[in-house]
């Protein structure tokens, strides 16, 4: 072992931090090397000097002040301890972040859902308002509403379940009075008058003079029922049928 290597290992050798075999080799080196021997002594003196740094005596008054200070801080913190902090104590930062993100996503989804629902409702009202003047607006609205209201009674799903395609057909039919061929609407005319007024809300008292038109959309669950005034002449809003 050369002096350079001994010099590097010396800080550990002086405090017995080396493996015994290595320490023995250094010790045998020190037996004949005066320079390294001097270095070892110097390190030992340095370590002794370092250990002369004895801490001051801490009297009981000081220790009591530390204890009372710590307890006072703890008491102050406990008073400020909110429920949220108590909850957060059991969660690490990552968990809190994940929980916050999940809550944010749920809230955002709910907001988007509510917004879209309102948008659809607004679109329906506007569609009714845009009906042509061929038929009085009130009649069209009442007919459309009666058909819509009657649907659940007939075992049909509520309006919300109407597909977009069907909704488009309905709007188109209300606007033009002609069903879209692509929709392959199964339009059936019935000579039979509608049910009594008590059973069919939204139908006027003169429903005996009305012509009932049923339209089956491509959606098997959706059927449009249309009431038109029965006249000898062809009704102005009579839809084209098969």
């Amino acid at each position: 072992m050369n002096c350079r290597r001994v010099e590097k290992l010396m800080p550990l050798y002086v405090e017995d931090d080396l493996r015994p075999a290595l320490a023995t080799r250094i010790a045998s080196h020190l037996e004949w090397c005066g320079r390294c021997n001097w270095l070892a002594d110097d390190y030992k003196e340095s370590q002794s000097w370092l250990r002369t740094s004895t801490p001051p005596e801490f009297d009981s008054a000081l220790l009591d002040s530390v204890k009372s200070g710590a307890l006072a801080q703890i008491a102050a913190n406990r008073q400020r301890h909110s429920r949220l902090a108590a909850f957060a104590e059991h969660w690490n930062r990552r968990q809190v972040f994940a929980l916050s993100a999940a809550a944010l996503i749920i809230v955002a989804t709910f907001v988007v859902y509510v917004y879209q629902t309102r948008l659809k409702d607004t679109g329906n009202v506007e569609a009714v308002k845009k009906m042509p003047d061929e038929m009085p607006a009130d009649d069209r609205a009442s007919n459309l509403n009666s058909a819509t209201k009657a649907a659940p009674e007939a075992g049909f799903p509520p309006e919300r379940s109407v597909s977009k395609r069907t909704r488009h057909s309905l709007k188109n039919f209300a606007r033009t009075g002609v069903p879209n061929e692509r929709e392959k609407l199964d339009v059936a005319q019935s000579e039979a008058p509608g049910p009594p007024d008590a059973q069919r809300p939204g139908v006027s008292s003169d429903s005996k003079d009305m012509l009932r038109i049923e339209i089956q959309t491509s959606d098997p669950l959706i059927r449009i029922i249309w009431f038109a005034p029965r006249e000898s002449d062809s009704p102005p809003t009579k839809p084209a049928t098969d």
Binding site: P11, R51, S53, P56, L62, K67, A70, Q73
Partner: protein
């Protein structure tokens, strides 16, 4: 040098810790369990049992009494805050030392930001612990204070990690294995830090001695 030190297989020893002896720990275990359950009396017992050691270590890490006292209070505050997370299979002394080292690092960082007075001057201005616990005459206290200030300046030449390692290993008398556990490092890293720190302290002392001889 760290690479070279890493090559060396070093002996492991167990100097042990006064408070972490099996008997001490077994007697303290029920107290810790009670403190975990929120028992303030048990927590006070823990403070009484460890406060002297905590203040001493903080003083060695920070070099002045005022910071050491603040750090000790902060240590016990953190112990109270996190003791529920302490596992029974852990070494409480090592866990406590880790908190002490972390708190002292935070204090040292704050102190370096404010870049206040030198530690020796602070000791003199505040009257130090010596005024709080004066037992000897003023002259010997002055010499002791100067000696402490010199050693503190020597420790100031070290990096924070080196200082923590040398304080725990050489001044607190912990084993290298325990120091590694407290600092969250490998034993090889700790030995490298200790080796480097001892070399720096020796050089500092050598420089101071030369200056003293010149003056004389």
């Amino acid at each position: 040098m760290p690479g070279e030190v890493a090559d060396i297989a070093l002996m492991t020893e167990s100097l042990g810790l006064g408070d972490s002896s099996p008997n001490a720990l077994s007697s303290l275990a029920p107290v810790i369990e009670r403190a975990k359950g929120g028992d303030m009396a048990a927590f006070e017992q823990i403070i009484e049992h460890h406060q002297r050691r905590v203040i001493t270590t903080a003083w060695r890490m920070l070099g002045n009494s005022e910071d050491a006292r603040d750090a000790a209070q902060e240590v016990f505050l953190r112990v109270y805050k996190y003791i529920r997370g302490f596992r029974s299979d852990q070494d409480f002394a090592a866990w406590l030392y880790r908190i002490v080292i972390n708190v002292c690092r935070d204090h040292a960082r704050i102190r370096s930001r404010h870049a206040g007075l030198a530690s020796f001057e602070v000791e003199q201005e505040l009257g130090s612990f010596d005024s709080l616990a004066s037992t000897g005459n003023a002259e010997s206290e002055m010499i002791q204070a100067q000696q402490r200030a010199m050693i503190d300046q020597a420790l100031d030449t070290l990096s924070k990690k080196e200082r923590a390692a040398i304080v725990l290993r050489d001044l607190e008398g912990m084993s290298t294995e325990k120091v590694a556990e407290v600092l969250g490092s490998s034993q090889t890293t700790v030995r490298s830090q200790i080796s480097s720190a001892r070399a720096k302290i020796r050089k500092y002392r050598e420089r101071v001695l030369k200056q003293t001889r010149r003056i004389e």
